[in-house]
């Protein structure tokens, strides 16, 4: 009896000692497939770090953005690791809201991160967020419909070719739309696509003195081309379509072409969810011969807020989740095609990955073709390919997105939409003190 009591006492004391030592970190994230997969694989991390427990807070993207912004701005300290994008990183790093990630361990190999992605997540040469997965945008097209149309998709098509192919592929009687593009209003929805597209038309949001440029002919060409293309060859109700809606249309065989995030490649080529999985080809985002393509650059990344009390544990977790080891772990459990894309050079040099992911080379080329510091033909005072990395952009981008979405829906003309966009941008820039 005494021995039993003693053993129980010792066990309890050990448990208490362990509990006192154990550190719990809270990670805020989005419900994307790669993020969900990470949550199922964390045993690998907790086994190696038994003194760290992980708490997940998964939220819808816009809610997550609002929650983490509130928390970080008020130093609420609710999160130890945050999932944020390339838009937030430069702004928050400049506000000293994020910790620099320079202590991720000797074997982390930060130089292996794709230069374009690392550039988007760094300020003054310091990395402030580690990319979990990165993406650009490109053309996904139906090879069978392209053959039927008697055309061959070049590796680097022009917008004129896209228009020609869309016209030929459109078959309303059979429910096939030549092209599916984003139309749903939002700075991260239609404006991500349209801003990237406008770069290839030589347009820009602001000139070097922050004067809005929606009154310039380049924007008129961009928006007119987009509206005309979608009216002739796009799906019905396109002004309500975002990534998910177009994904559903493409997977159901209702789009000849879809220009969107490279991360969609693994979804449209998955026979479990896509009816056209074996018929998909890939090409770089279109251009207009001006030296810039209409592709964007984005990375969902893990950052550590400056207010955390658990820096060491948070750094250990970020290092694990964005390491080469993690990619190998995913590959060993789910195959190389499921490895998080768009972050590390070594992944694209891996022959097994290239074999498992036929879209690998095109994804890499698309990412490398994006330059956040020189996004368009003319010089700009901002950073960002499909966004402008200033705090005012979330609100302004969504306002302009609503105006352009209305033009697509036929509720206003292209000229009216551009005029209103110019007025809205001028008011926002004046209020923000960028211009007088």
């Amino acid at each position: 009896m005494k021995l039993r009591t003693l053993t129980l006492g010792l066990l309890s004391a050990s448990a208490l000692a362990f509990a006192a030592h154990a550190e719990s970190i809270t990670i805020a994230t989005v419900n994307n497939a790669d993020m969900v997969r990470m949550q199922t694989l964390t045993e690998d991390f907790t086994k190696a770090n038994p003194d760290i427990t992980l708490n997940w807070v998964t939220l819808e993207e816009n809610v997550l953005r609002e929650r983490v912004t509130t928390d970080i701005a008020t130093k609420g300290g609710q999160y130890d690791v945050m999932t944020i994008g390339t838009y937030e990183v430069p702004i928050w790093a400049k506000q000293s809201w994020l910790l620099p990630l320079d202590k991720l361990g000797d074997d982390y190999d930060a130089k292996d991160i794709l230069p374009a992605i690392a550039g988007g997540l760094s300020v003054d040469g310091k990395l402030y967020a580690a990319p979990f997965y990165g993406e650009s945008s490109f053309v996904m097209y139906r090879k069978d419909l392209m053959d039927k149309a008697g055309l061959k998709m070049p590796d680097a098509p022009t917008w004129d070719f896209i228009k020609q192919a869309a016209d030929k592929m459109t078959d309303r009687a059979n429910g096939v739309n030549g092209v599916c593009l984003r139309g749903k209003a939002g700075w991260g929805e239609n404006m991500a696509f349209l801003t990237a597209m406008s770069n290839s038309f030589g347009a820009r949001w602001f000139d070097e003195n922050w004067k809005p440029q929606f009154d310039q002919p380049e924007w008129k060409s961009t928006l007119q081309f987009y509206v005309d293309l979608m009216k002739a060859d796009g799906p019905e109700g396109a002004s309500s379509n975002g990534f998910n809606e177009n994904l559903a249309l493409f997977q159901q065989g209702k789009c000849g072409m879809w220009i969107d995030a490279t991360v969609a490649a693994s979804m449209v080529s998955d026979p479990k969810s896509s009816k056209v999985a074996d018929k998909v080809g890939y090409a770089l985002a279109p251009d207009n011969g001006l030296g810039k393509r209409g592709n964007w650059l984005w990375a969902w990344s893990l950052a550590i807020p400056a207010g955390t009390q658990k820096t060491d544990a948070a750094e250990k977790f970020v290092a694990w989740a964005t390491s080469k080891h993690y990619s190998e772990l995913v590959a060993s459990k789910l195959g190389w095609a499921s490895a998080p894309p768009g972050t590390r050079t070594s992944l694209y040099a891996n022959a097994e990955y290239q074999k498992a992911a036929p879209f690998a080379k095109m994804t890499l080329d698309s990412i490398n073709a994006a330059d956040p510091t020189h996004p368009t033909v003319k010089p700009v005072p901002y950073v960002g390919v499909q966004f402008v990395a200033i705090p005012e952009f979330q609100g302004l981008g969504t306002t302009v997105g609503q105006l352009f979405s209305a033009a697509l829906a036929g509720q206003s003309s292209v000229d009216d939409a551009l005029k209103q966009a110019q007025d809205a941008a001028t008011a926002a820039m004046t209020e923000g003190g960028y211009i007088k």
Binding site: N31, N32, A33, T58, T74, N244, A248, Q251, Q252, K272
Partner: protein, 274 residues
């Protein structure tokens, strides 16, 4: 002839009521149907015949752990309702039986707080919660839910109490009842239907509240609203899983509403016809 017309009217009214009820309920019904589909089926367009798979339910449970969120929802909605009643019953009693010339203004002012968009006070509330250590705490959220629903609870109780003849309370006072005894033993038993329906409505409102319950919680106090939010994805089609999560979140309150519908309707129409 008159009877035939009446029967015809009744039939038309019944059919119309069923159509309206089905139209209102259809989004919920379709969510339930979609929850029994595979992800591929869910995106294949409109269909009311699911394959009957439970795959989404098991994945939702494995991914998020439903019961922790459910427990928090029960605790927050019931707890905030009890707190609200504790404050609102004396307040409504005072306004109904000892009104002053400012009573109507106070009632209007209370109601006007509901007209303000919640996001306008997000930062001050967040800072108060941060400084008082109430972020992600059940008690903090219970107080918050109590406060945001308090105007409606006071208004409803005030309306019910006004229907009770003041003479009964006077008689109790004549018999030597103290203020406490008057409220607990005379007023409250007479207002039970009204209190019950107020309670039920407040539970429903607290259960469905999504703005504050998502923004003031992280892991410990997060209720089912946060659970649903976690299944919405900007990049990926998880409609079946989202539907399963929604069904799991609304099922308890739907069942409660179904069984208590008589009390709810009775309470909500209490004193409506005079």
């Amino acid at each position: 002839m008159a009877r035939a017309v009446t029967t015809q009217h009744k039939t038309i009214a019944t059919v119309a009521a069923w159509i309206v009820a089905l139209l209102i309920f259809f989004p919920i019904l379709y969510t339930i149907i979609t929850s029994f589909k595979s992800e591929q089926e869910a995106i294949q367009g409109f269909s009311i015949i699911p394959s009957g798979t439970f795959e989404s339910y098991s994945e939702v449970q494995a991914q998020s752990g439903y019961f922790k969120f459910f427990f928090n929802s029960v605790l927050l909605s019931v707890g905030s309702t009890i707190l609200a009643l504790l404050v609102a019953i004396p307040a409504a009693w005072s306004m109904a039986f000892s009104p002053t010339k400012r009573t109507k203004d106070i009632l209007m002012w209370m109601l006007s707080t509901k007209m303000m968009p919640a996001v306008a006070v997000l930062f001050p509330i967040y800072l108060i919660f941060r400084d008082t250590g109430l972020l992600d705490s059940r008690i903090g959220l219970m107080i918050m839910l109590m406060l945001i629903n308090l105007p409606i609870v006071v208004w409803m109780l005030y309306t019910y109490f006004r229907e009770i003849p003041g003479e009964i309370l006077e008689a109790a006072r004549m018999d030597g009842a103290s203020l406490w005894n008057e409220i607990v033993y005379v007023l409250t038993p007479m207002a039970v239907p009204g209190i019950a329906s107020t309670m039920l409505l407040n539970i429903i409102l607290a259960w469905n509240e999504a703005f504050w319950t998502i923004r003031l919680t992280t892991t410990e106090a997060a209720p089912l609203t946060a659970f649903i939010s976690s299944f919405s994805s900007p990049q990926g089609l998880f409609w079946a899983k989202l539907s399963a999560a929604s069904t799991l979140a609304i099922a308890p309150i739907l069942i409660m509403g179904w069984f208590s519908q008589k009390q709810l309707v009775r309470g909500l129409t209490f004193g409506a016809v005079k």
